[in-house]
C-alpha cells in the first residue's frame, strides 16, 4: 500500500494499462506535453510517445467520435473531456453512436472506449464549468457510469473500465484530485457494479458517491458522536448499479438518505429512491430523503455556490430529521 493522490492513482491506472495493452491510447486537450489540466496524464507522453498520447484541437465531438471509431476498429481509447459541461458537445457520439453500436449491430460490433471527464462545483467556476451531469449518462442504455470517490477506487475502477468491452463514462470530481488515500501496490481491479460499504452502521443508510461520499463520511462521523449510527454506501458505479448491497443496507437500517451533488429534479437519487421504495417498501420506516443540489445553474459567487450543493451540515440535519421524527 502506498499513499497516493486521486490524480496519481488515475495516472498509475493509465500507465499500467498502457504498458500491458498496446491498444490502449489516450487523447484530449493538453494531455500530452502539458500533462492535462488536472495533471492526470503527466509523464505518459514520455513513455508512450505522441502516437498513443495525443493532444487534440478543440474539436470535442470529432475527437470523441474518433475514439468511437478507433474503438470499433479494435483499439481501446481513453478520451478526456476537460469539463463534463463540455460533454454537451459530444452527446451525439455518446448517445447515438457509442452507446448503441453494439446493440444496432446485433452484438457484432463493440465500443471499448472510456470517456474520462470531471464535474462538480469547484471554486467559483460558475455555471458552465461546475455541472454534475451524471443523470444524463445514467439514462442512456449502453453506457456504463463510474464515479469513484477515493484514490483506491479511482485506480481499480479505471483499470476495470479500460478493460471493459463497452463504452464507460468515467466521471471524476474536480475537488477530489488532490485527496490522498492508501492504494494497493501494483495491478488490481475493482469490478464494475460492486458497491462498497464505506462505513457500517445500523440506524440509517446514507447512499452517496463521488465528492458527496467524502462529505457524507464526515457527516456520519459527527452523527456518531450524537449517537446516531450511520451506514454509508458508495455505489461507485451507477451503471451497473449494485442494488443488492443497497437494499441489504436499507433492510437493516430502515432509513435512507441519498446525497447527490446534482440538482434534485431528475437526478440519480430519484431513481435509486424509486427502486428502494419499489423493492423494500415494507422495510421503510420513513420516506427516503434526498439531499441534493438546488434546481439551479451554479452561481459564480462563492457564498451562493455553497448553498446550491449539499454541505456537511445539510447532510447532518437531514439525517437528524429523518431519524428524529420517525424514531420511536
Amino acid at each position: 500500500m502506498k499513499e497516493l493522490m486521486y490524480r496519481e492513482a488515475l495516472n498509475h491506472a493509465l500507465l499500467e494499462e498502457m504498458r500491458s495493452d498496446d491498444t490502449v491510447f489516450i487523447m484530449g486537450e493538453g494531455i500530452a506535453e502539458r500533462g492535462g489540466s488536472f495533471k492526470v496524464t503527466v509523464d505518459l507522453l514520455k513513455e508512450f510517445g505522441s502516437q498513443r498520447v495525443i493532444d487534440t484541437p478543440i474539436s470535442e465531438a470529432s475527437f470523441t467520435g474518433a475514439g468511437v471509431g478507433a474503438a470499433i476498429a479494435g483499439m481501446k481509447p481513453v478520451v478526456e473531456i476537460l469539463f463534463s459541461d463540455f460533454t454537451m458537445l459530444i452527446m451525439d457520439q455518446l448517445v447515438n453512436q457509442a452507446a448503441k453500436f453494439n446493440f444496432m449491430t446485433g452484438g457484432a460490433g463493440k465500443v471499448p472506449m472510456v470517456l474520462r471527464t470531471q464535474g462538480g462545483v469547484g471554486n467559483g467556476l460558475a455555471a458552465q464549468h461546475s455541472q454534475s451531469l451524471e443523470a444524463i449518462f445514467y439514462h442512456i442504455p449502453g453506457l456504463k457510469l463510474v464515479m469513484p470517490s477515493t484514490p483506491k477506487d479511482a485506480k481499480g475502477l479505471l483499470k476495470a473500465a479500460i478493460r471493459d468491452d463497452n463504452p464507460v463514462i468515467f466521471l471524476e470530481h474536480k475537488l477530489l484530485y488532490m485527496n490522498k488515500g492508501l492504494v494497493p501496490d501494483g495491478d488490481y481491479i475493482i469490478e464494475l457494479g460492486k458497491a462498497d460499504v464505506k462505513k457500517e452502521g445500523s440506524d440509517v443508510t446514507i447512499i452517496a458517491w463521488s465528492n458527496m461520499l467524502i462529505r457524507s463520511l464526515a457527516a456520519a462521523e459527527k452523527l456518531e458522536e450524537q449517537g446516531i449510527s450511520v451506514e454509508v454506501v458508495d455505489p461507485r458505479t451507477l451503471v451497473p448499479l449494485d442494488k443488492e448491497t443497497i437494499l441489504e443496507s436499507v433492510r437493516k437500517t430502515e432509513h435512507v438518505v441519498i446525497v447527490q451533488e446534482a440538482i434534485r429534479r431528475g437526478g440519480i437519487g430519484s431513481d435509486i429512491a424509486s427502486i428502494i421504495q419499489e423493492e423494500a417498501f415494507d422495510y421503510l420506516n420513513a420516506p427516503i430523503k434526498i439531499v441534493a443540489g438546488l434546481n439551479t445553474p451554479v452561481p459564480f459567487n462563492l457564498n451562493l455556490e455553497k448553498i446550491v450543493v449539499p454541505q456537511e451540515e445539510d447532510i447532518i440535519s437531514a439525517v437528524q430529521n429523518l431519524v428524529g421524527v420517525y424514531q420511536e
Binding site: S62, I72, M75, M104, T105, G106
Partner: protein, 319 residues
Amino acid sequence: MYSKEFVTNVYRTLLTIRVFETECIKLYRQGFIRGYFHPYLGEEAIAVGVCAALTDKDYITSTHRGHGHCIANGANLDKMIAELLGKKDGYCKGLGGSMHIADTTKGNLGANGIVGAGIPIGVGAALATKIRKDDAVTVTFSSDGAANNGVFSEALNLAAAWDLPFILVLENNQYAVSTPIKESTREVELVKRGESLGVKSFRIDGNNVFEVYETTKEAIRICKEEKGPVLIEAVTFRHGGHHVNDPGLYLQKEELDYYMSKDPVEFARKYLIDDLGLNESEVEEIDSIVNKQIEDSIEFAKENGEMSSKEFLKFIENY
C-alpha cells in the same frame, strides 16, 4: 482500357445494387420492409468505384443511404435483405435495419441514421490503423447535406492535423431531402472546404465509375506515400425521391434527365459491349445471375425467422 474481368466485376456490382434497391423497394411497398429506406439508385458508381480500389484491410463507414456501400464492400446479400426484413440472420439480427447495417467482418463499420456522424468515426478508424501501422486506409462515405453539419469540417481538420490515411468521399447529389444545395450553402463546390483545411481535394464525376476508381487509387497513394487525408467530392444525382415514400417532385426535370442519360449502370454496360466487345447475350447472362441471386436472397430472408423475445431479453440483459 480496363480488362474484361475488371469491368465485368464492376458491372455486376453496379447492377447488383440497382436490382437490390429496385426489388427491395417492391418489398417495402408490399409491407415486408418498414422504417426508413433511402435508395442508392443513380449513385451506384461512387460506392462501386471506391470499393474497387480497396482491400480487405481497409475500413469504410457509410451513411443513411448505405445499401450501395455495403454491397460494393462485399456484403452477403442474404444477410442484408434479412436485416432489412428484421430477421434473425440479418447482419444485425434484425435489431438495426436499413439505417444501421454494418459488416464489421469486412471492415464496414456501419451505416448511420445521423447525417454526418460517420465522419469522426471514420477518422477514428484511420487513427487506429495509423497507430497500429496497418497498411490500410479508411473511406468515409458522406453527403452534401452532411457537409453543413459541424463534424464535417471539424473531423476533416482533425484528420489533416494528424496526417491520417483517411479518404472522405462526399456524395454530392445536390439535394438534402427537398432542399437544393444552393439554398444551404453559398459555395456549392464543396471541394473548396477541403482545400481550405490544407487537404488534397478532388471534384469528380460521380456517375463515372472509372473516374471514381482512379481518383480513389490516387487518394490511397497520397495517403500511403505522401500524407492523408484526401477529400473526394463526387457529383451525382438521385434517380428518385429522398426515401421510398418521397416522390421527389421537387427534382428539376432537366437535371434528372441529364443524370438519367449518364446512368452509371448503363455506362458500364455500354463499356462492356462497345469497348470490350461483349455481346448482348453475354451481358444478359450476367444480368440473370444477378437477378437470380437477389431473388434467392429475398427468398432466404422471407423464410428466415425473427429473434424471439426471450433471446432479445437475454441480449439486452447488460444494458
